[in-house]
Amino acid sequence: MKALAALGRLTLGALAAVGRAGIFAFATLGHLLRPPFYWREFGVALMQIGYFSLPVVGMTAFFTGGALALQIYAGGARFNAEEVVPSIVAIGMARELGPVLGGLMVAARVASSIAAEIGTMKVTEQIDALVTLSTHPMKYLTVPRVLAATLAVPLLVGVGDAIGIMGGFIVGVNRLDFNAAAYLKNTADYLQPWDVGSGMVKGAVFGFLVALMGCYHGMNSGRGAQGVGRATKAAVVAASVLILAANYLLTELFFST
């Protein structure tokens, strides 16, 4: 009985948290549509989230593409289908691994830094100070970051796709004795625009979720250093889980027949 009550409490707590985050998301969209818009903050966020994530996302994609080529080659060899390597690497990267791994790396990098920054602002009364200076914290802090992430992550995914495919290509040509021209031709023949497009749409959703979770947990940070630490952890965990869940739903939506 006690266990059941605890489970109930946990469920209710979780539902309430989802509700609060949902309200936060709608509030963000509402503020996005109403002026003022802080261009400077948006520019800074775009640099922080987009440009400075390039190395991490690029490296992740490169090594993943290479490993994928090796695995598919080994798996394909079981039924003499080694020639599928280029197309499956490309499709796998563009549809799944590019957006998901890119999104997770951005979650680790960006959700944490946003939550820590905003959380620190909260505990040092900087958020209160913003309010007294007639500046809405949602407009000044949340909207620029969420918009920047929503726009930047798809581009990161696009770059990641290209680098991942290149990783597969380098491994394919150097380790698996593929002919370079044939590998590229095979990739180009099989990769459809929607493979890349769907991955970029996923990227936009993941970017939105990452920045939203960073801002939400930062704004609701507890007091003191411990509060900020908890907020940061919660932001990364929530962003990662939401990315994986959203990825499943989007894949279901885009590709299930």
Binding site: E117, E125, Q126, D128, A129, L130, V131, T132, S134, T135
Partner: protein
């Protein structure tokens, strides 16, 4: 005029404000004294709407603060206020002058950048800071310097009502004197309504027109600064003389 009527605020089981009644006349300087943790900062935040009281009414010039909670109303309401936070609360992503000129760089009171910078440097000078600090970041300043930058930010846009939360804590005696004079000057010359929290009795006497003592969630005593020594209230006496013995418990 700021009027608080029967204001209550609790954080969980911690009943901080238990029915505050207080009036601050326009153009006067009210100083709030009281022990650490009695809710002085919370009281100021209630007036600004940063903390919502469970009960009671707060009016500024007859207008209920609770009504100005959303949208443009609230911006206009807050544009009349300046606030120095106890911990300065400077934005650490912005330089010192951008902090001071924050309100002048955006929104309704927006000025050209160069002009805003000039005003910021002038305000910094008034709180005893050299123009060289303008381009530093808050993290590069000492605590007392941060406090003074916070003060400069509070007065930068020439608000009608200014709240100072412990303006002189962490400052040397000479700088405290400068700040006390500045606050007095702002009230007398610019007709600003000021509410100041301080533990420094020299400041109280230099700044105040009226003094209110907060204790046990209530305004224990309120009166003109000249009557402070003859208040006849044992709590006030103990507080202003800093005695360990008296009705105020030393463990709170």
């Amino acid at each position: 005029m700021i009027t608080l009527t029967d204001v209550h605020k609790a954080f969980g089981a911690n009943r901080v404000l238990r029915g505050i009644n207080l009036t601050v006349p326009t153009g006067k300087s009210m100083v709030i004294i009281g022990g650490s943790g009695t809710g002085k900062s919370v009281l100021l935040k209630c007036v600004l709407g940063l903390v919502t009281p469970e009960q009671g009414r707060i009016e500024v010039d007859g207008e209920d603060v609770g009504h100005a909670r959303g949208g443009a109303d609230r911006d206009a309401f807050l544009a009349r206020f300046g606030m120095l936070f106890q911990g300065a609360a400077l934005f650490d992503s912005l330089t010192v002058w951008q902090n001071v000129a924050f309100r002048l760089l955006r929104g309704a009171q927006k000025l050209p950048r160069a002009e805003a910078r000039d005003i910021a440097i002038d305000k910094l000078r008034r709180v005893g800071l050299k123009p060289e600090v303008a381009d530093l970041f808050p993290a590069e300043l000492s605590g007392g310097m941060q406090k003074r930058v916070g003060l400069a930010r509070a007065i930068a846009a020439a608000p009608e009502i200014i709240f100072f939360d412990e303006p002189t804590t962490g400052l040397d005696p000479i700088m405290s004197g400068v700040i006390n004079e500045l606050i007095r000057e702002i009230v007398v010359e610019m007709g600003v309504t000021a509410m100041t929290i301080t533990h420094d009795m020299t400041s109280v006497r230099a700044i105040a027109d009226r003094v209110a003592m907060l204790h046990g969630g209530l305004i224990r005593w309120e009166g003109a600064v000249g009557d402070l020594d003859a208040s006849g209230d044992p709590y006030v006496d103990q507080f202003i003389h800093g005695r360990a013995e008296g009705p105020i418990e030393s463990v709170r």
